[in-house]
């Protein structure tokens, strides 16, 4: 059993290297909170707050930092107010 596991393993160091490269690239850019994804997150939430009362529990923010592409997903429940007409 031990032998089988010993030989079936793939190397883990390449995974470590790749994870660190992605992470550090983002962290070096983030010095002084200048990370673009973080900036966008804060500005989007501020913009939304201007137009509606945000219930913090109804806002979910997800980020995924990738080597080439990062994603930012802001999921907000907007209550339907029939009394309000579109401008």
């Amino acid at each position: 059993m031990n032998l089988l596991r010993f030989f079936s393993r793939s190397q883990s160091a390449p995974a470590a290297r790749e994870r660190l490269q992605v992470l550090l690239a983002h962290e070096r850019a983030a010095v002084g909170d200048s990370d673009l994804v973080t900036k966008l997150r804060d500005e989007i939430l501020r913009a939304i707050a201007k137009h509606m009362q945000i219930d913090d529990e109804k806002v979910s923010v997800r980020m995924e930092r990738g080597p080439q592409v990062s994603t930012l997903a802001v999921d907000i429940e907007i209550p339907f107010d029939p009394g309000k007409k579109a401008a």
Partner: protein, 271 residues
């Protein structure tokens, strides 16, 4: 009400973060709700060890400063749905960790989680004392090596004086987790033996985690060692430790007393 555990050691590099992640995953694997909180503000690493480093949105300091809700800062593990991580801040100063803020966060987490595991930073400064402050149980991570044992002794002193439990005149439950134990060296007499460390620190033993490549391998791929390879020696040690934390009485096997295939051939030095 959940139980609050602090994983502490004084000395750095002995395996606090590895143990926090491994025990957290072991406890959560039975469906109990577990959150692991990183208290190492400025030098966070729990996110990396748990493989969530790309998904950190908000952190402990954001929650304490009122910039984010607790629920928004919690990151759910991709493998275990009852395992959560509350990351530390990487960019903020550790002075942002206020005593009141930490008290509120721990109190709120206790309401929803069965286990709140606080991964302490090394040292005996603010971060370390705040991490242990609200604990019900302390896990002292120690390597069988003189400086680690000395620092653990210092930490045990702090656990008995600077925690809420101690200040209220209650007894803090403390457990020793011996990590990076190398049975071959211990047998040769080049490493402190289990009974040596137990005699010096005189707190009950929670488990012995053998020195293993599996720990490095697990951190490389961003997985608690108990999830990366649940049949590996360190994983088995952590699973057993988790069961003891829940109150089970399990005998503790000292690594090396029962040798595996490789151990039999390469481990023992000819007399």
């Amino acid at each position: 009400m959940g139980k609050v555990i602090v994983v502490t050691s004084g000395k750095g590099g002995v395996g606090k973060t590895t143990s926090s992640a491994a025990l957290g995953a072991a406890l959560a694997s039975n469906g109990e709700k577990v959150v692991v909180v990183d208290f190492d503000v400025g030098l966070r690493n729990l996110d990396l060890v748990m493989g969530a480093e790309r998904r950190v949105v908000y952190d402990l300091v954001n929650v304490i400063q009122g910039e984010a809700k607790l629920t928004q800062a919690l990151i759910r593990d991709k493998r275990l749905e009852t395992l959560y991580l509350l990351p530390a801040s990487q960019t903020r100063d550790k002075d942002n960790l206020t005593a009141d803020g930490v008290e509120w966060v721990i109190g709120a987490l206790k309401q929803t989680f069965d286990w709140v595991i606080c991964d302490s930073p090394a040292g005996i400064e603010r971060g370390a004392t705040l991490a242990m402050r609200h604990a019900d149980v302390a896990i002292v991570v120690t390597n069988p090596e003189v400086s680690s044992v000395r620092d653990s002794d210092r930490i045990i002193g702090l656990l008995d004086s600077k925690t809420l439990k101690a200040e209220n005149g209650e007894r803090m439950e403390k457990h020793l987790l011996l990590t990076r134990y190398d049975p071959v060296r211990a047998e040769r007499g080049d490493m402190l033996k289990v009974e040596d460390v137990l005699e010096i620190l005189s707190i009950p033993l929670l488990g012995i985690v053998p020195e293993s490549m599996d720990v490095l391998r697990a951190s490389n791929v961003g997985s608690p060692v108990t999830l990366a390879d649940e049949r590996s020696a360190p994983a088995i040690a952590y699973f057993d430790a988790a069961r003891r934390l829940k109150g089970e009485m399990l005998p503790i096997a000292i690594p090396g007393e029962k040798r595996g295939f490789f151990g039999k051939f390469f481990g023992r030095k000819a007399a």
